[in-house]
Subunit: 338 residues, 2 copies
C-alpha cells in the first residue's frame, strides 16, 4: 500500500513536502514538485480516506440543506435520506444546517442563500431555475462552497453535481406504460404543475413524444394546477365535465390528491386510467382505493442519501464526484411493489 510517508522516503524528502505537492499548497521547488508528482503517479498513490477523515475533524465541516419542502410531501423521503446519511457522518464532525421554504419563490430562495453563504462549506439545494439563483450558485462555488443540486437542476451553472431523475424519460415511461395498460387507445386529459417548471415541461415533452407515435392516443386537454391540490381539484373537475370522452388522466406533478378527489366526486374512478408521479402518502391512499393504477417513482430517498454522500466524500475525504450528474432511474410502481 502506498502512503505519503512511502513517497517521501523514496523521494528523499519529508512527508510535509509531499503533502504540499499533492494538495497544491505551494512553497515547493518546482523540481522537487515534479519528482514527487511523478513518484506519486508511478506508484498510483490514492489518499487513504480514513486518514483524511481523521484529520478532517478539526475543520468541523458544515453543510447547508435548502429545500422547497414546506407543504410538499414529496420531499419527506428526500429529507429522510439526507438525514440518515448525515447521522452516519456526524461522527466525522459533519454538521447540517436545515432551511426549508414553501414553493419556488426566487427572492425567498436568494435571501436564504445569502444568509447561508458565510455559514457553510457545502450546499445541497433544490434550486429555482432562475438567473438570480444561478448567479448566486456560481458565487457560492467561487467562494469555495461545494454545491449539489438535488431533484431539480439549473441551466449552465458552476454547481459541482446534480442528483435527481431524468424527467424526459419519466414522461416517456409514463406514456409507454399507459399504452401498455390500455392498448385499445385513449383520450387523455393532462393535469400538469406549471409550465414554468423545467422538470414538468420535460415530463410532458417525454410523454407527448412517446404517445404521438401511436395514433390511437390523443391528448384532449392540458390544465395547470400550480402544484396546488385545491386548484387541481377544480381544474380536473371542469376538465372531466367538459370532455366526457376522456378515459385516461396523466398527472405530471403534485396535486395528485386533488385530482383524484375530483375523479371520485364525479364517480369516474372506474372509467378512468390514472397515472401519476411519486409515492406520497395521499397518492398511496388513492392507489389502495384503486383510483390510481400506477405511478412513476424517482427514488427520492436515494436522491437525498446520494446528495449527502457526495458532499461528505468531498468535504471529509477530499474526493470529487465522479460524474456531474447522478441520475436515478424512473421506476414503475403499482400497489404490489410499493
Amino acid at each position: 500500500m502506498v502512503t505519503i510517508k512511502k513517497i517521501a522516503d523514496l523521494c528523499g524528502v519529508s512527508r510535509g513536502t509531499v503533502d504540499r505537492v499533492i494538495n497544491d499548497r505551494g512553497n515547493v521547488k518546482p523540481e522537487t514538485r515534479e519528482l514527487v508528482l511523478n513518484m506519486a503517479k508511478q506508484l498510483g498513490y490514492k489518499p487513504n480516506p480514513a486518514g483524511k477523515a481523521l484529520s478532517a475533524r478539526k475543520k468541523h465541516p458544515v453543510v447547508g440543506v435548502l429545500l422547497s419542502s414546506e407543504g410538499n410531501p414529496f420531499f419527506e423521503d428526500v429529507i429522510r435520506g439526507i438525514k440518515l446519511a448525515a447521522e452516519k457522518y456526524e461522527i466525522y464532525g459533519l454538521k447540517v444546517i436545515w432551511r426549508n421554504m414553501r414553493g419556488y419563490d426566487v427572492s425567498s430562495q436568494y435571501e436564504i442563500m445569502e444568509d447561508l453563504k458565510d455559514k457553510v462549506n457545502a450546499l445541497i439545494i433544490n434550486p429555482v431555475n432562475d438567473p438570480v439563483i444561478i448567479k448566486e450558485i456560481d458565487e457560492f462555488v467561487d467562494t469555495g462552497i461545494f454545491v449539489v443540486t438535488v431533484n431539480n437542476d439549473v441551466d449552465n451553472s458552476k454547481r459541482q453535481c446534480y442528483v435527481g431523475s431524468d424527467y424526459i424519460n419519466g414522461g416517456e415511461t409514463a406514456g409507454a406504460l399507459l399504452q401498455m395498460i390500455i392498448p385499445s387507445g385513449a383520450n387523455i386529459g393532462i393535469i400538469m404543475g406549471s409550465s414554468k417548471v423545467l422538470g414538468h415541461k420535460q415530463r410532458l415533452a417525454g410523454f407527448e413524444k412517446n404517445i404521438s407515435k401511436n395514433p390511437k392516443f390523443k391528448i384532449v386537454d392540458i390544465q395547470e394546477n400550480d402544484d396546488d391540490d385545491i386548484s387541481s381539484y377544480d381544474k380536473t373537475k371542469i376538465m372531466l365535465e367538459k370532455h366526457k370522452e376522456i378515459n385516461a388522466v396523466f398527472i405530471v406533478a403534485a396535486g395528485v390528491y386533488g385530482a383524484c378527489r375530483a375523479v371520485l366526486s364525479l364517480d369516474k374512478q372506474n372509467d378512468l386510467t390514472i397515472i401519476a408521479f411519486d409515492t406520497v402518502p395521499t397518492t398511496i391512499e388513492m392507489m389502495k382505493k384503486h383510483v390510481i393504477k400506477a405511478v412513476i417513482y424517482q427514488h427520492p430517498y436515494r436522491q437525498g442519501q446520494r446528495a449527502m454522500q457526495i458532499v461528505f466524500e468531498y468535504l471529509v475525504n477530499g474526493i470529487s464526484p465522479d460524474k456531474s450528474k447522478h441520475i436515478m432511474k424512473n421506476e414503475i410502481k403499482i400497489l404490489e411493489n410499493l
Copy 2:
C-alpha cells in the same frame, strides 16, 4: 464529540481500560466496568469509523466471494456491484478472493467453501439451500467468519445477513402486472426454473396467490426448464403447441431467451403477453423485439454493492448490520425505463 479518551478522563481511568470494557476483552474490575459502561452510554459514545479503519489496516482483512455465476448472466451485475465496492475499500487493505461455480451442486459448493475456510475473514455467498451447506455456513460463523448470503438465502442458518429480494412479492407483482396489461383475462403458461429452488417456488406461489383472486385468469400449464435455455426452448414449444389457448407466458427464472426463441419460432410473439424476471442482455434483446412486455427487476447491482458494504463495515469498522435481511424492491421494467 465523545471519544475513548474523553470517557477515560471523565472516569478517571486510562484509555486502555475503557477499550477493554467497550470491546469486552475482560480483565476489568466489575465496578470500573460498570462505571465506564454507564459513562459511555450516558455520553452516547459511538466509535469513530475512521479511527477503526485506520487501525484495521494492519489486519489485512480478506473476504471470499462465492457465486454460482458461471454461465448465469444474472450475476454479472451482482459481480459489478461487489467489484466496485471492493475497489472502493481496497485502500483500507480489504482483499477479495473470487470463486465461481456453475449451477447449484452441493458438493462443488462445499468443496470450495472448505478451501476458503482458512483463507477468509468474511464470506459472500450465493448458497445452495441444502443441509450440508447450511451446516458449513454455521461452521464458518462459529470459526469467526462473517457470512452474508446474497440473492438466495438458506433456512435457519447462523449467517449474519441476507441481501436479496422478496421472491414472493416478486411473483405477486408479476401477477398484478399481468392483470393490469390484459384486464380481459388470460390463459397462462408458466415456465419455471426448478421447484427445488426455494426462490422459484416462492415466486410461483406469489404469482398464483395474486392471480387466483381473479377468475378471468387461469394457469393452463407449468413446465420446468432447470434454468437451461435449450430445455426452456423445447418445453415452451411443446407447451404452446399443446395449449393453443395460452395467451400469456410467465417465465419465473432463467431460460428466458430459450422460451422467447420458442415463441418466435412459432411466430406467436404478437399473440402472447410475456412477463419475465431480470434484465440480462438477451432479455433486453427480446424486450427490444417486443417479445417480452415487461420484467421484474431485483436490483442485482445494488445487491452486490450492499453485500460488500456490509462486510466492509463489519470487518473494518466493526459495525454489525442493522438488519438481518436487506431486501431490495421488485421493480417493474419496460423498454423505456430499463
